[in-house]
């Protein structure tokens, strides 16, 4: 997967957009409640579990977003399964 750090869009390896990350509260992962059953965290503002994309495959992620397009994701800029991409206009 690839994540465009300028536009906050997550793409598949082939460049198909999966989701644009947008949080109206500009929330931070560090302040969310940890979950005992997974690496995900709970955002109390939207009362949603935020999916940690660190150990998840592209296929699993696409399925999760297809099932619920409001699924919130967390992408660490240093995780190894997502390549950071910067797209600049010519």
């Amino acid at each position: 997967m690839k994540f465009d750090i300028n536009k906050n869009i997550l793409f598949t390896d082939k460049g198909v957009p999966i989701k644009k990350l947008h949080c109206p509260y500009d929330s931070s992962w560090d302040d969310m409640q940890e979950q005992s059953h997974s690496k995900n965290r709970f955002c109390a503002l939207c009362e949603r579990e935020i999916l940690d994309t660190q150990n998840i495959s592209e296929k699993q992620l696409i399925l999760a977003v297809k099932k619920d397009d409001k699924t919130c994701l967390k992408i660490d800029f240093h995780q190894t399964n997502i390549e950071l991409v910067a797209v600049y206009e010519r």
């Binding site: 929330s27 931070s28 302040d31 950071l84 910067a86």
Partner: protein
């Protein structure tokens, strides 16, 4: 390339020198060496560049850490060991002031402090409806950070070279690092460059303080 020290970025399209410098990027040259010299790079389609990790140089070496003396005793101890002291006054930044008001519940008498009639805390939205709560102390702004003295000094080791990039562990100056749930973040650490006389702090709003995305 050690993935622990640099994350890879694939650039499509043309990147300007300003973009390159602003995002703290470097590339691997034909000889396999890391370089941040922009002029040597022919920009085009699909250039593989790397983002330098905070606190490390492009070769993966940890940067020198600059300590801060916040007490006279601490500064004197450092100068006895041949460190020089680069003094700064503490000047509160208007960007870091917080808002507060005091509410009292009309029925129970309970006191609560909040930044607005509607606030966002760790466990969700809290409302102070005027039917239930009185604003007994009107809203005002305050500076929420406390330090032992109105001045402090960066403690410069004697062997620092002109142009050397370092990490400042405990920033004296205020740098705004974003907001979360009505609270403003004061950056604690940033990198700086020693120009032979002073430290020039490398702060880029929008870049510093951001290491992940949520949404």
């Amino acid at each position: 390339m050690n993935d622990e020290l640099a994350s890879c970025i694939l650039v499509t399209g043309k990147m300007s020198k300003k973009d390159f410098e602003k995002q703290d990027l470097f590339v691997i040259d034909k000889n396999g060496a890391a370089t941040d010299i922009y002029e040597d790079i022919e920009w085009g389609e699909k250039i593989r560049v790397y983002r330098r990790r905070f606190g490390f140089d492009i070769h993966g070496e940890a940067l020198t850490v600059i300590e801060t003396g916040r007490s006279i005793d601490g500064i004197n101890a450092a100068t006895k060991n041949k460190f020089s002291a680069s003094f700064r006054r503490l000047i509160p930044s208007a960007d870091l002031y917080e808002r507060y008001g005091v509410f009292q519940n009309k029925a129970t008498g309970e006191i609560a402090v909040a930044s607005d009639y509607k606030t966002y805390e760790r466990h969700g939205e809290i409302r102070y409806d005027t039917e239930l709560w009185d604003l007994v102390l009107p809203f005002d702004n305050y500076y929420p950070h406390h330090f032992p003295n109105p001045f402090a000094a960066y403690l410069i080791p004697p062997n620092l070279k002109t142009g050397q990039r370092v990490v400042i562990k405990d920033l004296i100056e205020d740098f705004y690092g974003g907001e979360f749930w009505d609270r403003k973040i004061r950056l604690e650490t940033l990198e700086a460059i020693w120009d032979g006389n002073d430290l020039n702090i490398d702060y880029v709003p929008g870049r510093d303080g951001r290491n992940h995305a949520v949404g």
